[in-house]
Symmetry: C2
Subunit: 247 residues, 2 copies
C-alpha cells in the first residue's frame, strides 16, 4: 500500500505518516526502488495501535517507548487500551453531567460550587500514563533485573563481569565504523549477552539500540563508558540486526 491509500484509510495526513517515519515510530519497508514507502499489513496494525494511544493522549515519544519495549505485545495492548477507552467514556459522561448541571444552574434551578463546574476535565496530566508505566515503563530494565535476581550470587557476579567487559571493549572501539568486522563481532557478543538475561529478537535488539540514544536514561549510563558509545552501539546494533535478519 502507498501513503495515500493508508492516509485515507486511517484518516491521517500523508505528512503525518512521513513524520512517523522520520522519528522512527512507523517505518515501512521502502522497497519501491524509487524510494516510495510501501506499507504492509503489519504496518497498518502498528498504525492502528499508534492511533489508539494517541487518542488516549500519549505523546509520540511515549508511544514509541511503549511499543519498543521488549515486552510489548499487541494483544495485551489492545486489552489495556480497551480499558482506557472505557475510562475515557466515563470521563465524557462526567462532562455531560457537568453541562447538565451548569444549564440547570443557569436557569436558577440548582446551586453549583466552583469545583463542580470543572468536574470531568483534567488537562494537567495524562491519567493513563501511570497505568502504562506499570505495564511497560522501564520494562526492559525491570525484566532484566527480575531475571538477574533469580540467579545465584556466583552467576550474578559472573554476569556483571561479562557486562563490564563487553562495555569496555565496545568503548575502546567506538571510533571504528559500526559496520566494521571488529564492531560487528563485539556487538554480537552483546546480543548473546542480552539473550542470557532476556529474550530479544533481532527486531527488539535493533529497537533497543535506538532507545539507547532516544532515552536519555540509557544514554547517560552508557556514555559513562565513553562519550558517544550509545550512538555507536545503536548503529552497530542496527547493522547487526539487518545483516543477520536476511540470512
Amino acid at each position: 500500500m502507498h501513503v495515500k491509500e493508508v492516509s485515507e484509510l486511517a484518516g491521517v495526513s500523508i505528512r503525518t505518516l512521513h513524520h512517523y517515519d522520520e522519528i522512527g515510530l512507523l517505518t515501512p519497508k521502502k522497497i519501491n526502488g524509487s524510494g516510495y514507502r510501501i506499507y504492509s499489513e503489519a504496518d497498518l496494525e502498528r498504525l492502528q495501535q499508534i492511533l489508539f494511544f494517541k487518542e488516549l493522549g500519549f505523546s509520540l515519544k511515549k508511544i514509541k517507548e511503549i511499543m519498543n519495549s521488549s515486552s510489548y505485545k499487541q494483544e495485551e495492548a489492545l486489552e489495556i487500551q480497551r480499558g482506557m477507552l472505557i475510562d475515557k467514556r466515563k470521563r465524557i459522561d462526567k462532562m455531560i453531567q457537568t453541562i447538565d448541571k451548569t444549564i440547570q444552574n443557569k436557569k436558577g434551578e440548582i446551586q453549583m460550587t466552583d469545583k463542580e463546574k470543572f468536574e470531568g476535565f483534567d488537562f494537567s496530566h495524562n491519567p493513563y500514563e501511570d497505568e502504562a508505566r506499570k505495564k511497560w515503563g522501564d520494562h526492559v530494565v525491570d525484566e532484566s533485573n527480575a531475571k538477574i535476581k533469580q540467579l545465584s550470587k556466583y552467576e550474578r557476579e559472573s554476569l556483571e563481569k561479562e557486562f563490564n567487559d563487553i562495555y569496555r571493549k565496545l568503548a575502546e572501539i567506538r571510533h571504528e565504523s559500526p559496520d566494521s568486522d571488529i564492531a560487528q563481532e563485539k556487538i554480537g557478543l552483546w546480543y548473546v549477552y542480552l539473550n542470557k538475561i532476556g529474550n530479544y529478537s533481532l527486531d527488539a535488539f535493533k529497537g533497543l539500540g535506538q532507545m539507547y540514544v532516544d532515552d536519555e536514561r540509557f544514554t547517560k549510563n552508557i556514555d559513562k563508558f565513553g562519550e558517544g558509545l550509545a550512538k555507536f552501539m545503536r548503529d552497530a546494533m542496527a547493522v547487526y540486526a539487518e545483516r543477520n535478519q536476511s540470512e
Copy 2:
C-alpha cells in the same frame, strides 16, 4: 480568585492561563494594583466554556472567534456542546467496538477489512467545526447582511453611503491617538451605525474591534481604506467601550 486557585480548580496550568490572557481569549480584570490577575465568577464560566470547546478539538483561535461572535450565548453553547459530547461518546464506542473486533480477529475468530480496522477515528478534520460554523461562523457578517437585505433600496443606498463616509473619516485620522477626542467622536459614529443594522453591546463592540485585527478577512477589507486602519479602530473601539461602560 488568583491564578493558582483557578489553575487547580480547572486542572490547567498557570502558564495556560497566562497564555489565554496573552492571546486575549480569557482576560481577567487585573485590578490587584500589583498586576495580579484576579478572576471573577464570569471568568470561570468562560474558562469552562473554553475547556469544553477544547475537549472537542477546537483550536484556540476558533474558540475565540466563536465566543466573540456577537450572537454567542452561553446557554445555547452549552446545549450544542452537550450534543457534541454525546457524539464524541459515540465515536469512542465505535473505537471500543473496533478494538473488540481486532482482538477477535487476532484470535482468528473473525475476518476484518482494513477499513474496519480504523473505524472510529478520523484525525483528518474536526467533525464538529462544521456544526459550529453553521451556528456561529461568519455570523457577524451574516447577521448584518440579513438585516440589510430587508431594507428598501433607498435605505440600503443611504446606509452604504454612511458606511463609506465613516470609514473614510476614520482613515483620515488613523494616525491620531485612539483616545483623542476626534478619534472617539468618529468611532462613536461607528457604534451608532452598527446599531442600525445590528444589536451591539459595548462588550460586543470591543470584541468586534479585536476581530478586525485577529481575523484577516476583516483586516484586509478594512485596510483597503488605509494601511493600519483596522488596528486603529480596534484600539479606538476598546477605549470607547471602556469609557462608556463605567458611566
